[in-house]
Amino acid sequence: METKSLSIDIKEEQKKAQELVKKQGLRVLVCAGTGCVANGSLGVIERFKELGADVSVLTDYDKMTIVPTGCHGFCEQGVLVSIPDKHVTYVKVRYKDVEEIYETHIRGGKPVERLLYTDPQSGEHIHKDENINFYAKQNRTALKNCGNINAESIDEAIAVRGYEALYNVLTENNPDGVIETIEKSGLRGRGGGGFPTGRKWRFTAANRGGKSYVVCNGDEGDPGAFMDRSIMEGDPHKLLEGMAIAAFAIGADEGYIYVRAEYPLAIERLRKAIKDAEERHFLGKNIMGSGFSFTVHIKEGAGAFVCGEETALIASIEGERGMPRPKPPFPANKGLFGRPTLINNVETLANVPVIILNGADWFAQMGTETSKGTKTFALTGEVNNTGLIEVPMGTTLRQIIFDIGGGIRGGKKFKAVQIGGPSGGCLTEEHLDLPMDYDSLIKAGAMVGSGGLVVMAEDTCMVEVARFFMNFTKNESCGKCVPCREGTKNMLKILEKIVAGKGELSDLDLLEELAHTVKEGSLCGLGKTAPNPVLSTLKYFRDEYIAHIVDKKCPAGVCTAMKKIVINEEKCKGCTKCARTCPVGAIEGTVKQPHHIDQEKCIKCEACLKSCPFKAIELQ
C-alpha cells in the first residue's frame, strides 16, 4: 500500500506545543484527580494562583504555571504537588501549606522538609520521586502521562507525542500492518478476560466494508479498581488516540465510550478532549487530511455492574436493560446495532499508541512468556501506600505489597489479598512469590481481572469477605439466567447463616456444589466467576469457616453475631455512663453497683465499650 501525505505535520505541531509548555516557566503540578480533589486540591490550586500573580521576584524563572493534572496514583498521600524542575514532590499539601512552599522553596530555593514524603522504614524525608519506593519500583507505560500533564490541554498531550502514533499509522496507510503489530506485541485485554487484543482486532477486521463500531469499555465496575478512571481523567487523549488507531485498523468510522455514571469528572474531561481533538482534526471527519473519519460519542452508564460484560454493554448503549446476550454471535460479527463491533477496555486501548510508537518488540520484552507488557493495579485496603501502580507483568505480590505498598498498615500481619474484585479470588502468604500474570493466577484459582488488589490483614474475616462479594454479585445479577440468579441468592443465604453463627457442617458441601453449578451453568462472565471468592476462601481458609460453624467463633473478631460484650464486675464502679450511652437500653444496674448487659437486647454496637472510663467493658 502506498504511504499518504497528510495535511498536518505532527512534528511541527509537537514543536509548537513544546514551545507553549516551555513558555509556562516553572511548572507546578498539582494533582486534580478525584482523590486529591476530595482532599482539597482545588483550594491548593487557587492559593497557588493567588500567590503566583507575583512573578517578578522569581530569579531563575520569569513565570510560574500551575498545572492541574490527572491522578499521580499516590492517593494515600494527596494532595500531591510536584515541581519537576526542582526534582521535588510534596505530599499531603493543604491550603495553608501553599504559602510556605511558595515562599521557602519557589522563591527561597530551600525545600520544605516537613512536607516531603517520609519513608516509613527509615523515617527519612525523601526529595525525589524516583527515590520514593512507591514510584521507584514501577514501570509506567499506560499511566506515563497521568499526573505529568494538564489533562484538559490538548497541547500538553501533543507535546509528549500525543497523536504521533495515529499520524504514523495514517501515513503508512496499512491497516493490516497495524493489526500485525498489535498481535506481535502480545497485548492481551486488560479488562479481565485477557483475550489477545490483536486477534480480536483481526476477527472484527474480517468484516470490513460495511458499517462497524469501536466501543471502549469504561464501565469499571469492580469495586476496588480505579485505573480506567485515572486514565480517562488524567490522559484522555491517549485513550482517544488508541480508539482512532483501532478504528482505522478494523475499518470503523464511529465509536462509543461507555463510562460509569459514578465517574462525573472522567465524563467531563473526555467531553472536552473530544471537542479539542475534533477542532485540531485528530478526530472527526477526514482526520489530518487522510480521508479517514472517526467520530466518538460518550454514553453514560446508569449503575449496573453487569454492563462491564461486552454484550450487556452493547444492550445498554442501545438503550435497553443491560442484559448479556448469548455468544455466538460474537460482537466481532454482530454487535452494536447488529453491526461488527470491536470492544476493548480503557487500559488496553491506552497501551495501543505506546506500542505503535515504540514497536511490538519493545512491548513484548516486558512481562512474562505469555503475558506481555505492564499492568496497572489498584492497591487498596490494609496497606500503607494505597494508590494506583503500574508494573511489568510477572512482578510478584511481595514486591507489590511490601516494596511498593510499604507493607501492612499499623504493623498488622498480612493475611490475604483479594485480586480481581468479585470475580477474582484470594491469594495468601504462600502466593507472595507468585508472578502476577494471567496464567499463573488462573492456576492459583484467581484472576488478574481488572487489577484491583485489596489487601487484607489478620483482623479481616474471610467468611465475611466471601459474604460481602456474594451479596454484591447477588445484587448485580441481571436475573436472565437461572443458575446465576438463584444460585447467588442461595449461596448468600448459606453464607449469612454461617456468619450469624447458625451454620452446619453440611452447609459447606452444599455451598461447594452450588458454586460449581453456578460456575458451569451461567450465561455470562458475571455468573461464571461469581463463585470464585467462595471457592478460593473455602480452599485457603476452610478452618475459618469451621471455626464459625463448630466453635461458633469468628477468629478475626469481626462477625457481630459471635461477639459478646460483657461488663467485668470487678472493674465496674457503677458510674451509669454506659447505661446512658446504650442506644437500645440493654444495660441495667443501680448507681455504684456493677452493671450488666442484657444479651438479648444488645446490638453489639460497642458504644458502651468506648464510653467506659474504667475499661470495665470487655469484648469476648
Binding site: 482532599n39 446508569a302 455492574f305 487498596t380 490494609e382
Partner: protein, 164 residues
C-alpha cells in the same frame, strides 16, 4: 418539610427533553437521566408518557429499563443525597460503622430511602473509584474522604445547622 409527590409532571418539559435526544430509543437511558435530574426521581406518569412518545417502546419497556439500573429511583430522593461507598476497599476499612452512624443520626431505617422530613436520602454504592481515600461518603456530589462514625456525624450536624 414533607416530600412533595403531588408536583405535576410538565409534559412540555418532558417533550423538551425527548426532543433534545431526538426522541430516539437508543437514548432512553440518557433521557431518563435528564428526567431524574429534573424531578430528583422518575415519576410514574413521566415513564408512561415517555413510553408512548418514543417509537418502538412501550411504558412497560421504559419501566423495565428504569428498574434495571441502580441509578434510577422511582421514589423521591432527599434534598441531600448521601451515598456511602461499600466497595471492597471501603468495606475493609470500615464503611458499615459509618453507614450505621448515618442511619442512627438521621433515623433512616434499613430499606428506607428517604428520611421522614424529605431532607436526606441514603444509599450504598458499590464503588466510587476513590479507593485510596477509603472509606468515602458522597453527599450531593461532594466526596468526603477517610470517614469515621464521628467524622460523618460532624458533617451531618453542619448540614443540619445550615438547614435551620
Amino acid at each position: 418539610m414533607s416530600i412533595d409527590t403531588s408536583r405535576k409532571i410538565s409534559t412540555s418539559k418532558l417533550d423538551e427533553i425527548l426532543q433534545s435526544y431526538g426522541c430516539k430509543k437508543s437514548n432512553l437511558i440518557a433521557i431518563l437521566q435528564k428526567v431524574q435530574e429534573e424531578y430528583r426521581y422518575l415519576p410514574e406518569e413521566a415513564l408512561i408518557y415517555i413510553g408512548t412518545k418514543i417509537e418502538g417502546l412501550s411504558p412497560a419497556t421504559v419501566f423495565g429499563v428504569a428498574t434495571f439500573y441502580a441509578q434510577f429511583s422511582l421514589e423521591p430522593k432527599g434534598k441531600f443525597e448521601i451515598k456511602v461507598c461499600d466497595g471492597t476497599a471501603c468495606h475493609v476499612r470500615g464503611s458499615m460503622p459509618v453507614l450505621n452512624a448515618i442511619r442512627n443520626k438521621l433515623n433512616i431505617k434499613e430499606g428506607q430511602l428517604t428520611s421522614e422530613n424529605g431532607l436526606f436520602s441514603l444509599e450504598t454504592v458499590s464503588c466510587l473509584g476513590a479507593c485510596g481515600l477509603a472509606p468515602v461518603v458522597v453527599i450531593n456530589g461532594k466526596v468526603y474522604p477517610q470517614m469515621t462514625s464521628d467524622a460523618i456525624t460532624i458533617v451531618l450536624d453542619t448540614l443540619l445547622k445550615e438547614e435551620e
